[in-house]
Subunit: 285 residues, 2 copies
């Protein structure tokens, strides 16, 4: 299954045994005080800086999220999308639960974006899917519904199925749906890792759609987070995930290693390129 | 399935949702010139040093291999086993394809060792399994037969089945067989990673026995080997491997991270202990 996302000048294809697609997560005020304060003042300088930095760090797609209490999302999200388009040629993942904000942002966007996200909740299916259909975008579907986040892979598969069925009913093709398998902090819930990995394997087998995960959630509250994140991303890629929402600069080497191991990086071309680049950077220091 | 390995004073249990067991690989002259030369002179100083160093680094079991051209293995292997027993309390993995050397080493060993290894080759099954049965040890079974190392997970499962059946016929219990799924260098054969991982998943499902892997073989000939080894070991543990033959000091953090993710390390107790230890070591530097 292949999902195509585009900008005015670039095309990214997710899936089909290609290298894992890296969606840069850093344009998001959650947990970032400075960015949050700047957004409240309509100041998009940090957004532009992060767009450039993540592009240089090797992101394939940039997630754009401006949702913080006190801002007018339908006004600010399209402005942020414009600012990012001025700073990077990468395709975007427009990140909001607000259908008006999404529609306003999609309208200014040049290309076919990924929209993040719809859930299995009735109000979300009813409000978000028509926007996706109308504008022909791709969409991330979160495996949570009106009862919350299911605890078992089987129950998460059921939510994924519901999202896929409802989307297909509206005429949204299955290849434009990317399921976010969700992962909670393993420090809070010891089965979080096994549940996420079980969900990935089950959805791969039963639905065959592309899947994503914000992998670093797994290590929230734990020390040495990179160690856990690197191990987890390798296990997720081996289980069948095809794109990840991540801090690209930190996790890219581990993703590229996993891509070599899964034969997603033919002749280790990317791996070798990145290795040489890191060597060069170290020499220059 | 639980495999019990003992020394005079220690017991290690492999499997049953416990943390991944680390078998220290460094007492092995293959690729280690200094150790090889010392062994040829009957000098076991490096063997003793490595036994101590790997024990301090957190190994659970020590592999002892002295096989190098020009030495008398049935004479040297028991001497090396004695030297290691004097230097470490850990249970041992006695590593040789020579049945006389194995039997001589088992006789001097105090406890129930792991023997590494039998293969699916007729001459190996015929010579090694009776030694295992006679002394009641556990044994590593390599998934290769008279035709070599099979290329597919299904063919490797067939060899594993053959080893298990032949062992059980002799009265060796299934829990005393640990299948080595084998991995070749991904730089030479791009499907090495997917084949090894597929083999692990299939054997877990079909035979349920404990499994091991010398994971660092995967990165032979590639740059930044630790990056590949860490990603691979995480994927292997997520797929169901229960012990690994490794350079313990290098790979232990990644293994412990994967054990947290797979809920093999209850409440991340080991992970936290090792984290604090690393912090202390850094402070002391």
């Amino acid at each position: 299954m292949e999902t195509k996302i585009t900008s005015a000048t670039r095309e990214v294809i997710i899936g089909g045994d290609r290298p894992t697609v890296l969606i840069g997560e850093r344009i998001n005020p959650s947990g970032k005080k400075k960015l949050g304060e700047a957004l409240k003042e309509d100041n998009l300088d940090i957004v532009r800086q992060e767009a450039k930095a993540q592009t240089e760090a090797g992101a394939d797609i940039l997630d754009v999220n401006v949702n913080i209490f006190g801002i007018d999302e339908p006004d600010l999200l399209p402005k942020a999308v414009k600012a990012v388009m001025e700073s990077s040629e990468l395709p975007l993942c427009i990140d909001s639960a607000n259908p008006e904000a999404l529609e306003a942002a999609i309208k200014v966007y040049k290309g076919k974006p990924l929209v993040n996200s719809v859930t299995g909740e009735e109000h979300s299916l009813a409000k978000i899917l028509p926007v996706i259909k109308k504008h022909g975008t791709a969409v991330v579907g979160l495996v949570q519904d009106d009862n919350g986040i299911p605890k078992t892979p089987e129950a998460r598969l059921a939510v994924a199925k519901k999202i896929v069925e409802r989307a297909e009913k509206l005429g949204i093709p299955r290849e434009d749906i990317i399921i976010d398998c969700l992962c909670l902090a393993v420090g809070a819930e010891t089965t979080s890792g096994t549940t996420a990995l079980g969900t990935i394997r089950l959805i791969k087998q039963e639905l065959g759609v592309n899947m994503t995960l914000a992998v670093s959630n797994i290590s929230f509250g734990m020390p040495d987070r990179d160690l856990l994140n690197n191990a987890f991303v390798a296990a997720c890629i081996a289980a069948g995930i095809t794109c990840v929402i991540v801090d690209v600069k930190k996790i890219r080497p581990a993703v590229q290693a996993a891509d070599v191991l899964m034969n997603h990086d033919k002749h280790a071309r990317r791996y070798m390129e990145s290795y040489r680049q890191r060597q060069q950077e170290q020499t220059q220091k």
